[in-house]
Amino acid sequence: MAKYTLTVNGRGRTVDTDPSRPLLDVLREDLALTGAKYGCGEGQCRACTVLLDGAPVTSCTMPVRMAVGKAITTIEGLAAPGGKLHPVQQAFLDATAMQCGYCTPGMVLRTTALLKKTPRPTEAQIVESLNGSLCRCCGYTSIVAAVRMAAALGTSAAKPANSAKGGKRNG
């Protein structure tokens, strides 16, 4: 066992854990951050995606010791403190880019990382970035549409979430 201070969503969090335990388990079990999901345990489905210094990683295959000293962002840390959705989250909502929603946190975080690096991605770049993130409900059409929508909103700039023209759309 070892004591680590992790920086999670901008806050220092101390955990006492086996150094080789997956970051995913520490986030979910010790820190009650359940947005990242267990899907396969081997980094293949990417439901467990979190950002480490802004880059997407599969937290189910990452020993917790490797995350020390890095900024960990989980889906819970993406929205503004008041709960206002991040533009990528808003785009996923507006595009109905989910069914069961289990893969959504991973998809949203991977898109956030993509748009930070490549604010105006081509269709091929979107597909390449998301191709390994699996959705068993098979909502890829609307997921890719959501990424396009988020890119159009200019997510890389620190624009407020309300630029997405509100959450509910009737008709």
């Binding site: 929205a79 989910m98 890829y140």
Partner: protein, 718 residues
């Protein structure tokens, strides 16, 4: 008898609108709680010990070392010495400890001795099945032999196969369960498609009255037909909880177990002979099919053959279910249909090629053998227009170059009428409205469409309705399977809400000075029909209730749905593919889906179902296959590295068309989750055959299988 009919299509304000899903906000925010996220205070963890043998007798189970391990809480043995295990992955024991890691350590310390026995895990060679095959009786209509030997008849005979595939839900099967032994009460958080029934199923396993189990679920990470029961892991997790003094036990399967024992779709292999006249009139069908649904056998309704075109004059059907040493099959989105659709539409495409006929013309010519010729004709013509069939279709194998392009089509059908469902509507004196229904939202949009129906009925905005589901304390509603949910819950919530509104009308009629049946609820007001000037606000109307809320409960009766829901839809899909004949890689250019619908409550969520269904079909057509090792009897690719699913880059362009029209609207609500996935596999397989000039007989359309077909090195089935 109140009038429960929906208002005419053009008068609806909320139903029929593309309203954003109500669960979208929590899901986008990462706040949606799945039961695998639930962690009541004091939760301990359990894992299983599973048989490594496909067939064995358990000689001994020694848990003593595990019981001394750090953190140990309780152990429950499933397979006692002497028990026979019949598939690799069968449950031997479950053990609980303070942490998941400790539980895993405990499981490793459980020593099990087995006597290995002979196994059969593969079914594609029927001759090897021997007595494990259970033939169903032969069915004959007309005289198939006469049809095949008739003057001028063109016959085609070939083998086809579609392997076992898995549900592969991203959220594995499992539950949190706490059994308070003193009170004999169980709190139960399963990942389930049947919140009203699964608690009773657990109670039955534990020999308790159903009243003792309280089931909860907000969200589920996929089910697709595999999550109806409480399962052995549910019962043993409960027992471990009781043994551990009532502490909540969390027991979720890991990916390997999930794929191995938590449900698969049965395979189908078969030899088909069919015939047509030279002009393309299909005259005869003879199929000998076999499949496995696991150790228990069963699992395919061969009576559906030839699929859709079942009214062919001369028909012979033989079918054998093979018991293999594999985990049991479970319902899988549109049980039976995708498999028999493939066998039928592939054989028909092959015969059309032999007739040198455009398969679309061949299908059109034979629609008199289907139960809905007019629907299919319109759908085929629409799909053909969407994919530019006339411009792009070329005779089989005439595509030139190394990358060859082809088109294919297939037809599907499904029921989709609403299941039994009860709903309770409460109108409170402060104007708030509560809907309680023992249903579940699999992510299909159930929350959203119920709220739309109630908002429409009560003349309120969506935000004026509070909906509660996912709890077996609410009025019971059916399991979500077979596309039956939308029809069931819309009808029950409509009826309960009409009843509640009628009571409100009765309470306010005197104040408005007209009989109650002259009132209507529109725009958050109760008004005299057609006279908006004579009205009172919803809030003022509800205030007339004094201290008594209105509570109304009503149900959808599947035997008498009163026109609110019906079943029976057709669908046509066409695929445009490119196949690299050097690498064997199949690329989907486009799939078009023309889906028959009834009354559509929310086109946004229904679109989502059809897109999802098509993409699920693409996964199965191109990638999915359970690979069993004959030697060890194990499932070789029971992980997500080698059990492949399509990603965003594999799906090509998808175009969906649904006829949302007053004529179809009159049919009432029909579920479309299942039918949308039925024809996809077959139309892609047909497009590949059209492109490369030969049939890839056994799916999936992997590079290996495509290259084998191209080089004529496909292994014969038997």
């Amino acid at each position: 008898m109140p009038n429960y009919s929906y208002p005419p299509m053009e008068q609806r304000r909320v139903m029929g609108k593309r309203i954003t899903r109500l669960d979208g906000m929590e899901k986008a925010a990462g706040k949606a709680k799945y039961n695998s996220d639930v962690r009541p205070k004091g939760t301990i963890h359990a894992v299983g010990v599973f048989s490594p043998h496909a067939h064995a007798r358990v000689k001994s189970v020694d848990t003593s070392a595990a019981q001394q391990a750090p953190g140990f809480a309780a152990v429950s043995v499933v397979a006692a010495p002497g028990a026979e295990v019949n598939w690799a992955g069968q449950e031997i024991a479950f053990v609980a400890a303070q942490t998941e890691e400790q539980a895993r350590d405990c499981a490793r310390l459980i020593k099990v001795e087995y006597e290995a026995l002979p196994h059969l895990v593969r079914e594609e060679n029927l001759a090897k099945a021997g007595s494990r095959g259970k033939p169903a009786g032969e069915q004959v209509t007309g005289d198939p032999e006469a049809a095949f030997s008739a003057a001028g008849a063109v016959t085609h005979e070939a083998e086809y196969g579609i392997p076992v595939i898995t549900h592969c839900c991203l959220e594995p099967h499992g539950q949190i369960v706490a059994w308070d032994g003193a009170a004999n009460k169980i709190e139960y958080w399963p990942s389930t498609q049947a919140i009203s029934a699964v608690g009773g199923d657990l109670a039955k396993q534990l020999e308790l009255p159903a009243t003792q189990v309280h089931s909860h679920q907000d969200h589920i990470g996929g089910g697709f037909g595999s999550k109806f029961q409480s399962d052995l892991w549910g019962a043993h997790a409960a027992k471990l909880s009781k043994m551990a003094g009532g502490k909540p036990v969390k027991l979720y399967l890991e990916r390997r177990e999930e794929l191995t024992i938590a449900g698969v779709r049965p395979s189908v292999f078969g030899k088909v002979k069919l015939s047509a006249s030279a002009s393309g009139e299909m005259t005869g069908w003879d199929s000998t099919t076999w499949m496995t649904g696991g150790f228990a056998g069963g699992g395919l309704n061969a009576d559906l053959l030839p699929y859709v075109f079942r009214n062919v004059a001369n028909r012979r059907i033989n079918h054998t279910a093979v018991s293999t040493n594999n985990g049991a099959s479970r319902a899988w989105r549109a049980p039976n249909h995708p498999q028999v659709c493939y066998i039928t539409c592939a054989a028909m495409e092959d015969l059309a090629a032999k007739l040198k006929m455009d398969p679309m013309e061949f299908f059109l010519k034979n629609l008199d053998k289907t139960p809905r010729a007019d629907t299919y004709k319109a759908q085929i013509l629409k799909a053909a227009e969407m994919i530019a069939w006339k411009q792009n279709w070329k005779p089989r194998g005439s595509s030139t170059g190394t990358v060859k392009r082809g088109l294919g089509l297939a037809l599907g059908t499904w029921g989709g009428a609403g299941h039994a469902s009860r709903c309770r509507t409460t109108i409170n004196p402060d104007g708030s409205v509560l809907i309680e229904i023992g249903s579940q939202d699999l992510g299909t949009g159930t929350r959203t469409i119920i709220t739309q129906v109630v908002a429409e009925t009560l003349g309120l905005p969506m935000g004026g309705i509070t909906l509660k589901l996912g709890d077996n304390n609410y009025p019971a509603s059916g399991a979500s399977g077979g596309s039956t949910t939308v029809g069931g819950v819309s009808a029950s919530s409509r009826k309960a809400s009409v009843d509640a509104l009628d009571k409100l009308f009765a309470a306010v009629a005197p104040a408005l000075g007209v009989p109650a049946d002259q009132l209507e609820a529109v725009d958050s007001k109760i008004q005299v029909k057609g006279n908006a000037a004579k009205s009172m606000t919803w809030k003022a109307a509800c205030a007339k209730l004094g201290v008594s809320a209105i509570i109304a409960e009503n149900a959808n009766d599947p035997r008498n749905p009163g026109g609110l829901t019906t079943g029976g839809v057709g669908g046509c899909q066409m695929a445009d593919v490119s196949v690299d004949t050097e690498t064997g890689i199949v690329k989907i250019n486009k799939v078009v889906a023309v889906q028959d619908v009834g009354l559509v409550i929310n086109p946004k969520t229904s679109d989502s179902q059809v897109y999802g269904g098509v993409i699920m079909g693409i996964c199965a057509a191109l990638m999915e296959e359970r690979v069993m090792d004959e030697m060890t009897g194990r499932f070789l690719n029971a992980d997500m590295e080698f059990y492949k699913l399509a990603g965003a880059g594999d799906i090509g362009e998808i175009e969906v068309h649904m006829d949302i029209t007053p004529d179809h609207d009159k049919r009432g609500v029909i579920g479309i989750g299942e039918p949308a996935t039925v024809p996809t596999i077959a139309c892609i397989a047909n497009a590949v055959a059209n492109a490369i000039g030969v049939r890839v007989p056994v799916l999936p359309l992997t590079p290996k299988n495509v290259l084998n077909a191209l080089h004529n090195t496909t292994r014969r089935l038997a």
